[in-house]
């Protein structure tokens, strides 16, 4: 759900008490409207948050390469403990980035869909673009 901002202007503590406060309502309004239109920023942020850990990214790349792996093999591949890896996998799963299926007494994980790779590719491309490194 979106939280609609209705106040005219929130005075925050620590700001010097002045009456000048040049409010450019004409500049602010379209921006505010865009925020509402853009969908819930919190949900989008949550999505990026899952990708904002190097360990989780390593897991995703490992899975993208191999296709499907058990938790233990993933842990070995990324050089982390099985417990930490399990915790990370849960976040990836909750975020809809990977899926799992039980095989015997182990659990195999795989990347959920092609959008994940696309998102990573765009992010890397952006980085390369910024730093002038050859793609």
């Amino acid at each position: 759900m979106l939280v609609v901002v209705t106040e005219r202007r929130t005075r925050h503590r620590g700001e010097r008490a002045s009456e000048a406060e040049t409010i450019h309502r004409d500049r602010i309004e379209p921006a505010r409207a865009s925020i509402l239109d853009s969908g819930d920023a919190d949900q989008l942020a949550r999505r990026f948050k899952v990708l904002s850990d190097a360990g989780r990214l390593r897991i995703i790349y490992a899975l993208l390469e191999v296709g499907e792996m058990r938790v233990g093999d993933i842990a070995a591949a990324v050089g982390s403990s099985e417990s930490a890896t399990s915790h990370q996998l849960r976040q990836l799963r909750d975020g809809g980035l990977v899926r799992s299926r039980k095989v015997g007494r182990s659990v195999n994980y795989r990347v959920a869909d092609t959008h994940v790779r696309l998102l990573l590719d765009v992010a890397i491309e952006h980085y390369l673009h910024d730093h002038g490194t050859a793609p």
Copy 2:
């Protein structure tokens, strides 16, 4: 710089001391190679981390709509303090997502390039795809 993992298998504390440890080296190696090829996971994670905060996303969307805004107007648009907004803008700037230029005694910020919007669009598309909501 990439840190190449060379150990055979790191035993982590808390794991039951067993000698079974079925190591599927053939499955792990290609994954590890992929991680190395994919570039530094830490740097990519840092990039996503900048986008993993709702406040920063709101700032970006505000700037995408208006084009260029002063710090004070951005703060008003997203409903945050000027100090907090300034801190956020610094991260966005360090991450190469926005750029600034001084105008009089204020500072105008704008989104750095078109890759930013693309990245956001792909992320949103992915989310919609996952949740079956109509795009």
